[in-house]
């Protein structure tokens, strides 16, 4: 299925002359290159995630950590849709709901084993992605936003009204994963530490899925498809002119996001063992989007940080009781004011590498708020976001 470019280009008469001069290669190494540093950081994160249960395997820690990981999953999926392909999706939670409900219904009502339900989930999410994406992805951003929002509400309300979805109280008693006689409910003992609860398993499962997802998303983003997404996000017409079928590019991002969210939904359904329509309100779509933007659109580390922030901040603020959402709101505003492109923007450059790397671009019209004159504090001029406008 995969063929070499040279092979693929055989029928094309036109070939570029071989490069005339070697361009400088990006350096390698942990502290001398962005990529090396990111890899090291990723490894560190994986280690931290892996040792957390050995330090504190209490139910509470494990359960919020697992919820946080599920958030991370959702945000990564939305990042493909919004961050890479530039499709403003305000109903992303709908696919999460589809995943959760399909696995819930198939395992409780139909009594399927979990792995079969997973396949059903994936099929359902692809179908849902096509049904909703196919007619609407022609729309430009804001109309797409409202259509996806509407779709999210439709899914939630439908789940709330149908018998098979358990109506407003939802589905409970969703079984956990089991492999032959052994299931997640059975505990085990590792290195003298007791892991009696299935909570810990979901934590590990989520962690592994996310690691795979991070690597996969990174690879996709760098390849042909990822370039097509970013091109579409930047300038749809120009992307068409480059031979990219923008519609297919958009729908592929949409479906990948959908499947990913569906898998997260399945994970959450089995982790909580009960789901109800309340967990799929618009607010959660907004929160996920918020996590993505807060972290930095299109940036994997950013999105992970954003997801952790949005899911853990209310938990950590629990002690402030009724004040916590007030504090959360103020915190959001403050963070955004200080880091307008997110906590870790896609274009971020490690401070000590800044000299040798390009600075981030001015924002395009599609993603930028209209510019106006701002007095900058240090007297340096602000860049002009509208240079070379479309006429």
């Amino acid at each position: 299925m995969v063929r070499d470019l040279d092979h693929a280009l055989k029928h094309v008469s036109l070939r570029a002359p071989a490069p005339q001069f070697e361009r400088s290669r990006p350096p390698k190494g942990v502290f001398t290159s962005q990529q090396g540093f990111m890899r090291a950081l990723g490894l560190l994160a994986v280690v931290l995630v892996a040792v957390l249960p050995f330090m504190d395997a209490s139910r509470y820690t494990m359960s919020i950590a697992t919820s946080a990981l599920i958030y991370v999953m959702l945000c990564m999926g939305l990042n493909v849709v919004v961050g890479y392909a530039g499709l403003l999706d305000l109903g992303y939670i709908a696919f999460f709901a589809v995943g959760a409900y399909i696995s819930g219904i198939f395992t409780t009502v139909l009594g399927w084993p979990m792995w079969a339900a997973l396949i059903a989930t994936i099929v359902a999410c692809i179908t849902a992605g096509i049904i909703i994406g196919a007619p609407t992805l022609r729309l430009r951003s804001d109309y797409l936003a409202i259509v996806t929002l509407g779709f999210g509400e439709i899914i939630r309300i439908t789940a709330n009204n149908l018998k098979i979805t358990g109506g407003p109280s939802g589905i409970h008693g969703i079984p956990t994963w089991s492999f032959g006689p052994w299931s997640f409910d059975d505990g085990f003992n590792l290195l003298g530490i007791d892991f009696p609860e299935r909570v810990v398993f979901y934590y590990f499962v989520a962690a592994v899925v996310i690691v795979v997802g991070v690597i996969g998303a990174g690879r996709l983003a760098k390849g042909r498809l990822g370039r097509a997404w970013k091109a579409v996000r930047d300038d749809e017409d120009a992307a068409e002119a480059m031979g990219i079928n923008t519609y297919i590019a958009k729908i592929s991002a949409y479906i990948i996001g959908a499947v990913w969210a569906g898998m997260a939904g399945q994970l959450m359904a089995t982790h909580l063992s009960a789901i109800s329509p309340n967990s799929f309100q618009f607010l959660y779509s907004a929160l996920i989007l918020m996590a993505v933007v807060l972290g930095g659109m299109g940036s994997t580390p950013g999105v992970i940080i954003g997801a952790l922030f949005v899911s853990l901040a209310p938990e950590l603020l629990r002690d402030f009781a009724e004040w916590r959402y007030l504090i959360f709101g103020v915190l959001l505003v403050v963070v955004m004011l200080f880091r307008p492109s997110g906590l870790w923007p896609a274009t971020a450059v490690l401070p000590w590498l800044r000299r040798t790397r390009p600075t981030p671009p001015a924002f395009t019209e599609a993603t930028a708020v209209p510019a106006s004159v701002m007095e900058s504090v240090d007297g340096t001029p602000t860049t002009d976001a509208h240079e070379g406008d479309r006429a």
Binding site: Y60, P168, S273, E322
Partner: protein, 361 residues
């Protein structure tokens, strides 16, 4: 048993999940204060098993995910019993968590039948179930001679559940359910349902949601020309109902409810104590939360320790324990033997619900 080994001599920790944020957040405080009052009283009397009680409260936001992490937090914090649970939808996913951790639950407010349908050993409801409340509503409907009735719910689990039970029992009792409507909570305009009620003219409509929308619907339906009886369920029994509906719109409003202190002689002192603690008068489910703590404390006392099996046995063994809702004995299914539901009506002077009919006759 999870937390019971934790601290054998420190205070006995009991946990409560209730909504403190989101649209139901008003109820969290009522419940917390009611429970705290009970804890204070018990501690003043020397505590349980010679140890003090300590109440730990977590927000469930009436949302499954938040509730689960809250429940896990309570378990981790070492509670030995749970006296929380307001929204059925948020309480349901916490059942297996408390069950696995060996923590018995006395649920003060949430009352969906699903809670006990799972047959978990440690789950007890002290609010009447939907079935029981529906029964009271149907009894009342027949008592006033209604033949055609209507039911309106707000699509939340408790409300839909109750509406379903009401429809079923009303039909079985030979009543004609002519309108069965669902509204979206959190809005202001319910003219659609008001118009339908005015057009169909049922003799009685049963509203199974909360007081906020209830007040609006009561008013809007009368404006539209509905003149039957407006029966509301316990979620709507609150003095705010009259305020929202407005003067002149409450004459035909009655509710199904369990008894409250102001209906009971000698409860003035309780109300005064509550006000002293909370700074505000008690609200819906203050009493149930108060009772839940007392029920749980009694069971632990009877059990002699905080082991799950013993406490459950203690709860099952309670006989005619005195609560606001009357003497309490749990059935096999861990619900109240009688719902204890009465009919209340709005006192035009104060706007508060007062006893109208104890349905005994």
């Amino acid at each position: 048993g999870g937390g019971s080994e934790a601290a054998a001599d420190g205070p006995i920790k009991i946990g409560m999940l209730a909504p403190f944020s989101g649209s139901e957040s008003a109820f969290g405080e009522y419940m917390q204060n009611g429970a705290q009052l009970a804890v204070n009283e018990i501690n003043a009397d020397g505590g349980v098993l010679g140890r003090d009680l300590e109440l730990l409260v977590e927000d469930d936001a009436c949302d499954a995910t938040t509730a689960v992490s809250g429940a896990n937090k309570l378990v981790t914090d070492g509670i030995v019993a749970s006296v929380g649970g307001y929204c059925s939808g948020a309480t349901l996913p916490t059942l297996p968590i408390f069950d696995e951790a060996g923590i018995p639950m006395v649920i003060p407010a949430a009352n969906s039948n699903e809670l006990v349908d799972q047959g978990l050993p440690g789950v007890f409801l002290i609010n009447g179930t939907g079935d029981q409340q529906a029964e009271a509503a149907v009894t009342y409907a027949k008592q006033i001679g209604a033949t055609n009735v209507a039911v309106v719910d707000d699509a939340t689990s408790y409300s839909a559940d109750l509406a379903g039970a009401f429809t079923e029992q009303a039909t079985a009792a030979g009543l004609d359910v002519v309108v069965s409507e669902t509204i979206t909570p959190g809005e202001n305009d319910y003219s659609a349902v008001a118009t339908t009620l005015a057009a169909e003219k049922p003799a009685l409509v049963y509203w199974t949601g909360y007081y906020q929308e209830g007040g609006l619907i009561a008013r809007q339906s009368q404006d539209a020309g509905f003149d039957g009886v407006f029966l509301v369920a316990d979620g709507s029994v609150d003095a705010k109902f009259a305020e929202i509906a407005g003067e002149g719109y409450t004459e035909n409003v009655v509710g199904t409810f369990t008894q409250t202190p102001d209906m009971i002689d000698g409860a003035d002192q309780w109300i005064a104590d509550y006000e002293e603690l909370a700074g505000d008068p008690p609200g819906p489910y203050s009493t149930q939360a108060y009772d839940a703590v007392r029920v749980m404390a009694q069971a632990i006392e009877d059990a002699g320790d905080t082991e799950f099996d013993n406490v459950v046995a203690g709860l099952e063994g309670l006989k005619d324990f005195d609560t606001f809702a009357g003497p309490l004995t749990f059935t096999d299914t861990h619900t109240l033997s009688g719902g204890g539901f009465v009919i209340v009506a709005i006192d035009p002077a104060t706007g508060a619900f007062v006893l109208e009919d104890d349905l005994q006759g």
